[in-house]
Amino acid sequence: MVLTTPGCALGAALVILGAGAAFAQDTIRIGVNEPLTGAVAANGNYVANGARVAEETINAEGGVLGQKIELIIEDNKSNPKETVSAAEKLIVRDKVPVLMGAWSSTFTLSVMPKLMEYSVPMVVETSSSTKITTSGNPWVFRIAPTSAMEAKSFAEKLSQFDPPIKKADFLAVNNDFGRGSAEEFRKMLESKGVKIGATEYMAPEATDLSAQLAGIKQSGGDTLFVTTGVEQITLVLRQAAELRLPHRIITNGGSSSPDQLIAQAGDAANNNYFTLFFAPWFPEKATNPEVAKAFVDAWNKKGYDFAGLTEGYRGYDGIRTIAEAIRIAGKAEPQAIRDALWKVKLKGVNGDIAFVKQGPAGKESGQNEANVYIVQIKNGKVTMP
């Protein structure tokens, strides 16, 4: 609250300063709106790093339409209000013709009306709430899977669990991402005859989760589905071990960075399962192994943390999707890029990227059919069961 007023003044000053910069534009600018600070900063930084890798590799190959691309990365401070300001700054001051963002479903949903207002397309690299592509916003193109898709992919792998999942409990972050995911997984598990026990929620900033876990311990379930970002997953794993929670823990949403969990949660991470949309330990198992391999190599060459690859791929695929759309459009203009996004056929790290129509007729959003992988941590190592 206190920050807003100086922020506005600074913003106004920047707009005046920026007016000159807009004339001398010899690069194609792409706006990136990610949480670089705040509650989910680790994930946002990983995505931003993936985007930087894409920027570098695309420019090394000669750029797009004979011009280099230039990322303008803004921090949305893990806050929906700041996400809207960041998007507005990118569109109005930096005049970017296309955006990528905004990690959390809550941030993405908050910025969507601005896309309509300014008629600028956005590629959504992470958010999984089903609402994003079904609410009738024709400027949204999502490469990440929806919670419903993730649940459907998970259902196909349900028989792999031994002992089988008989009764499931849920612990989800109390926002669009967590609630949406818990709902989709509950529906899927019920349809497979799995009993549902407790469903608990936690605030995005919450650090002490002992009350929720104590309730879950009493429910008698055998498996706990956890939906949140890596910081909170670390705390859930540690505190579950302290409480001797008997459950097998499965995290969904793909933002668990298992290597970071091994480093920060130690033994508490062992024997649990994590859904991911990219498994960098096994690039050969990806749909496009050569693309996955090239990304991992480029990432390592930059010296980024290996733990960030599971999340960083999102930024890489997102920026490459945008660059491909600009190439097809033949010009870097919002309307042309939006029309071109429908024609993108790209070999990505996650899989083949192409958008299908979702939402009410006439104002459909684009949704990619993404792949889902499940890994397990065993003796401090990531394995693919």
């Binding site: 949480p35 109390n174 900033e205 919450a206 002490d208 309730g215 409480l243 001797r244 920060q264």
Partner: protein
């Protein structure tokens, strides 16, 4: 019943850390009457110092804890000396604004130095929990509770039973009379602020291995510390202690039996309810007026 006992154990342990935060702030906010917006940042500072000393330099955790507390006190003394001393006699709004600015600057500094990605302080205790019937607790949490209880007793005695404590209280009640009695007012101001800051830093360092360390970790904590101090009655150490435990109980049982997603709201709802009935807080210090 087993669930109830686990909730109770969780609440007692959480209450210990809340009380620790509360007594640090009650010294500064309750006794000095400085609305201290840097308290949460000193908590964060302590956690980062523990990370730096134990996590990066590989120093013994307990030595890091003592060093983090000392550095927290030094930073507190610096804040008092550089920011509050020149403002002596200024009205509360001016002081408050300066402290808000200092808090924001400190958070930005932490951000700049450590980045936004969470850090983890190594846990010096075995991770295997201590199990007592249906209740299960991590050893580090028991250690935190023990340290909190010791510090609570020490500071209660310091303030109420020692010459230094009397001098501190006298300074803030009536500086002129205290000075006439030979008390060095300036020293008392710096010392009180330093001790309060040191307590915040030690709380951050203690909780570092339990939670993760981020630049914004102090935000909610500072809010809760203010709530605890107001709930317990300004400047009252037993009050802040009990306030800490009451807040923890409300959060834990509210989250356990009512709605876990609104855990933080439960505590604040309780505080509103208490203040409606007792605007001075549960245990207002007798000597204070208003």
């Amino acid at each position: 019943m087993p669930e109830f006992l686990q909730h109770l154990a969780n609440a007692v342990i959480l209450g210990g850390t809340y009380a620790l935060l509360g007594i640090g702030l009650t010294l500064i906010f309750g006794i000095m009457r400085v609305v201290n917006f840097t308290h949460g940042e000193l908590y964060t500072f302590g956690a980062y110092m523990a990370f730096m000393l134990a996590g990066m330099f590989g120093l013994n955790f307990f030595a890091s804890l003592a060093l983090a507390a000392t550095l927290g006190m030094a930073l507190g003394a610096l804040i008092e000396f550089a920011l509050l001393r020149p403002l002596k006699g200024a009205d509360i709004d001016t002081t408050m604004l300066v402290m808000i600015g200092a808090g924001i600057a400190m958070q930005a500094g932490e951000q700049l130095m450590w980045g936004g990605v969470a850090k983890s302080v190594p846990n010096p205790f075995p991770t295997e929990p201590v199990v007592l019937g249906p209740v299960s607790v991590g050893p580090i949490r028991l250690f935190v509770l023990a340290v909190a209880v010791v510090l609570l007793v020490v500071f209660y005695l310091l303030l109420n039973r020692t010459k230094l404590g009397i001098a501190m209280r006298a300074t803030f009640q009536d500086p002129d009379t205290a000075a006439l009695m030979g008390v060095n007012n300036g020293l008392m101001y710096t010392l009180t602020f330093a001790i309060g800051s040191g307590l915040a830093a030690v709380a951050g360092a203690l909780l570092g291995p339990i939670f993760v360390v981020t630049p914004t970790m102090g935000d909610l904590v500072a809010l809760k510390a203010f709530a605890i101090v107001i709930l317990g009655g300004l400047g009252n150490i037993p009050g802040a202690t009990i306030g800490g435990f009451v807040l923890a109980l409300a959060e834990e049982f509210g989250a356990g039996y009512l709605s876990s997603g609104y855990r933080d709201a439960m505590g604040f709802l309780l505080i509103i309810a208490v203040l409606l009935v007792r605007p001075q807080g549960l245990f207002a210090a007798k000597e204070r007026i208003g």
